[in-house]
Amino acid sequence: MQRALSRLFFVTALVLLTGCDGGLAPPPPSPLATIEGTIYYKGPWPPPDSVQELRFVAMRFVPQSALDLLLRFNELVISDTLRRFVDSDTFRLVIDLEGVAADTFLYSGIAWKFGPGLLDWRPLVVYDRPLVLRPGERRPIVLEADFQNPARFPGSP
């Protein structure tokens, strides 16, 4: 009886060891697209406290306010922080196109963090058309920003 139970134990362990999948795994490599941009700044820069951060942001929706940036955070892609107090800078954003033939970003441009608050963000300059990106595509864009005439959220008065 002991031998039979021992065999049962080992067979069960063997089945368990070989019969399960591995659980979580990294998603397969996705087809990628790239946005390669250049930003030119004209006019004077505001005081440093008013320019805490600048990033290029591409959104799959048209935001009505800064709150949308927070509430729909997973529907946007965002670049690393851009350099401040320079005449121009470049940025590169790699887009994951997993499971889609193309990705459309209805609203994109440079986001300006003007204060310490979580929602102290506003658009500085907006790209003038939707970005439609397909796998393997590299899309160069050029933006010109003026802190004296920043863009507004579509929902702003």
Binding site: T12, L17, D21, R72, F73, N74, P116
Partner: protein
């Protein structure tokens, strides 16, 4: 020949001396008045003695006049001694009240009704993990141990008993932790402090399932974890436990590429020293030292812990004792909060929109915790006992800067939890037990997360409670108990919250090996100071809500417990329970658009019903031991117009364990834990953290092989042997396969 003479002498002596001899008789009970059977009562240094009968009575006759030390001893109780002087012809009555010590028999529990009673008489569901279970599995902390208990599921640092807690982003625990009967949640976040007590000092862990506030007040919304610490043994004992191991490198190149630490084995280890001895007939205790170092399986997830612990017991009289338990724990750890997505789960994530440079998914801290638990128990009569106890829990927590240096305490948290309680146990009649008590406790916490107001840096929340319960053996087969507890919490200077928590239980012994029970009880949890007053922008924007209402629960349960024994050949213990719990006003964080921040709010109304069954089998004199626990949960969120699956609850939970004895002093064991994928998870977290909504079923297999000789045990463990990658809570990868070697030496 000599033995024959001795026998004759033993027989002849009392016969010859009968007229001049004295007699001794009496009753041995526990401190709660229950008669104890089989207790050895002896006159120390003589052959005179007796064992108590079913009524706890003993009789010793034919004792020569003189002064004797009379000793009563039984497994699981502190031996008691009394000195008596007997005159010729005297018949003296001498009663004993024994205090439970190491509760070795699985039949005895303490949580169910605040008193020791056989498991067969417990009218609620209860699971027990013994010291042997903990040691065999090489466990370091309480949360590791709880993962092996049927019906219990860990979601990060939150304990789910039958789905009670879900995952609520560090809201207070919906399960209460008791250490030797004293509530002990952390003073900062009302969480369960898993590292407060050295695991090697735990004698057993009992998990009471279902609302338990009628017994223990706030926090016992979904259940109670009772940790019973070891007592000192009769003989001096020393134990050294050395354990070391490493996490296996992850198998995916994508994950390794983003953190070089994942390409190597990541070591961890612990060294434990304990020593226990009697210092005199009346005084004894433990000292305990632990060093733990864990490099972690994730980037920024290291942990170092130093712990000292002592337990002293002084027995000034046979019917009284004082126990003082104190521990000091220093810990330095990186708390990995959330990952950087499923493509990069080994690195902490970040939320760029916060703009804070250190707003990454990890929180490095250094903490110091000190606990002090004194308790005095006295049994002035054979049917009366009382306990007076106190508790103090001090926490000092400091965040670390970028260089790993602790920031000032003003940037961290300083918290105190203190209080005391009185409990009276009275058995006026055979089969009737009455318990009354009162307690007063308070939390006072100062934290950089709780902004000061009115010039008062400390946020406090005092509470008082009175409780009582009545337990009655109606007939030989029917037992019932009812209890009522009144709690009052002061949440502001001008506002008190009061709760009345009743419970009722019935137990019917249908057969000597079969008992049926029914239980009803209420639970509640008063939100802690962290949930009320937290204000922070560093990790997530979150604002205070001082007006939170208590969470409440109403639980019903019917169940049975079955036991079968066929000598040493086979032993089987089984349970089945059907349960139904309604929850109201569960506190969860929600993003408040008008406040532009998260806030803890009373939101969810829920219903959790289901069944749970456990089976414990021992065959051929424990050559094979097997345990199985299965829990089916039907958890619905009733907040909206249509019921939805309740977030973060697995519908199926399975815990199995198998251990067999092999030749050459070897034992081989396996533990399998499985949980189905939660049908629904909260999406608020996934707004900010990539892939936070990704889950898989949990399938974790642990293997162990031990070689045991007297005083020495060597154990090889393979944890997560299937190298299965999973999450217990959103955005936090659980440990991959890791090997561990443990050496335990006892003397």
């Amino acid at each position: 020949m000599r033995q024959g003479c001795l026998l004759l002498l033993l027989i002849a002596l009392p016969l010859r001396a009968q007229p001049q001899r004295a007699g001794l008789e009496g009753t041995v009970r526990d401190i709660y008045g229950t008669p104890l059977t089989g207790v050895n009562v002896v006159l120390v240094g003589t052959l005179y003695g007796d064992a108590t009968d079913a009524a706890g009575r003993y009789v010793i006759s034919g004792i020569p006049a003189g002064t004797y030390t009379v000793r009563a001893s039984a497994v699981g109780y502190v031996p008691a001694e009394q000195t008596v002087t007997l005159t010729p012809g005297e018949r003296r009555r001498l009663d004993f009240a024994l205090v439970p010590t190491v509760i070795e028999a699985p039949e005895v529990v303490v949580t169910a009704a605040r008193r020791a009673q056989p498991l067969e008489q417990v009218p609620v569901s209860l699971s027990v993990l013994s010291l042997g279970d903990v040691t065999a599995r090489g466990l370091f902390t309480l949360d590791d141990a709880l993962r092996y208990i049927p019906g219990v599921q860990m979601t990060g640092n939150q304990v789910n008993i039958r789905g009670s807690s879900g995952f609520t982003y560090n809201a207070g625990s919906r399960v209460l932790l008791l250490i030797d009967g004293f509530p002990m949640l952390s003073p900062d976040a009302d969480g369960v402090p898993f590292e407060l007590l050295p695991i090697a000092q735990i004698d057993r862990i009992e998990v009471l399932k279902g609302p338990g506030s009628a017994l223990y007040g706030s926090g016992a919304l979904g259940g109670v974890i009772q940790v019973i610490t070891r007592d000192f043994p009769e003989q001096p004992a020393t134990e050294i436990r050395l354990s070391g191991g490493a996490y296996e490198p992850v198998r995916y190149a994508t994950w390794k590429a983003s953190w070089k630490g994942a390409r190597y084995w990541r070591p961890f280890g612990t060294a434990i020293f304990t020593h226990a001895r009697r210092l005199s007939d009346r005084l004894g205790g433990w000292i305990h030292l632990t060093y733990l170092r864990n490099t972690g399986h994730l980037n920024a997830n290291e942990r170092t812990l130093l712990q000292g612990y002592a337990k002293l017991r002084w027995q000034p009289a046979a019917n009284a004792h004082v126990v003082v338990l104190s521990g000091l724990t220093w810990r330095r750890s990186d708390a990995f909060l959330y990952w950087n997505g499923l493509r990069d789960p080994l690195n902490p994530g970040r939320i760029p929109t916060t703009g804070a440079k250190d707003a990454v998914g990890a929180n490095d801290t250094e903490s110091l915790q000190w606990t002090l638990l004194p308790a005095f128990t006295h049994a002035p009569g054979h049917n009366l006992a009382y306990t007076i106890g106190g508790r103090l829990y001090v926490l000092a927590l400091r965040p670390l800067d970028e260089r790993g240096r602790p920031k000032p305490l003003s940037k961290g948290t300083l918290g105190f939890r203190y209080g005391g309680q009185f409990q009276l146990d009275w058995q006026p009649l055979e089969g009737r037990y009455l318990t009354f008590g009162a307690s007063a406790d308070a939390v006072a916490t100062r934290s950089s997360f709780f902004p000061a107001s009115d010039g008062r840096p400390f946020r406090s929340q005092p509470e008082v409670a009175i409780f009582g319960q009545w337990e009655e053996a109606l007939t030989a087969r029917w037992r019932m108990s009812v209890g009522l507890r009144f709690d009052a919490y002061q949440i502001r200077a001008d506002r008190w919250i009061t709760r009345l928590s009743p419970r009722a239980n019935a137990l019917f012994q249908a057969h000597p090996s079969l008992t049926l029970h029914a239980a009803f009880g209420l639970g509640f949890r008063v939100p802690g100071v962290a949930e009320r007053y937290i204000e922070n922008q560093e990790f997530f924007p979150i604002v205070a809500n001082p007006d939170l209402r208590p969470e409440t629960s109403t639980g019903y349960e019917v169940g049975l417990r079955y036991r079968y024994r066929a000598g040493r050949l086979a032993e089987l213990n089984g349970t089945l329970a059907l349960f139904w719990t309604d929850y109201q006003d569960l506190v969860e964080p929600r993003f408040q658009a008008d406040r532009l921040a998260f806030q803890f709010v009373n939101l969810t109304r829920a219903r959790i019903r289901g069944l749970e069954t456990t089976l414990d089998v021992r065959l051929l004199d424990s050559w094979l031991e097997a345990q199985l626990g299965y829990t089916l949960l039907d958890a619905d969120d009733l907040t909206g117009p249509e019921p939805l699956p309740l977030s973060f609850r697995s519908r199926h939970l399975l815990k199995t364990s198998l251990t067999i004895a092999l030749p050459a002093h070897l034992r081989l064991g396996a533990d399998l834990r499985m949980a189905s994928r939660p049908e629904r998870i909260d999406t608020e977290f996934a707004r900010f953290v990539p892939d936070a909504d990704v889950t898989v079923p949990i399938r974790v297999l642990d293997l162990r092989l031990s070689w045991q000789r007297p005083g020495l045990t060597l154990t090889l463990l393979v944890k997560n042997a299937l190298d299965y990658y999973y999450v217990e809570r959103p955005a936090l990868l659980a440990p991959p396969r890791h090997l561990q070697l443990q050496l335990q030496w006892r003397r």
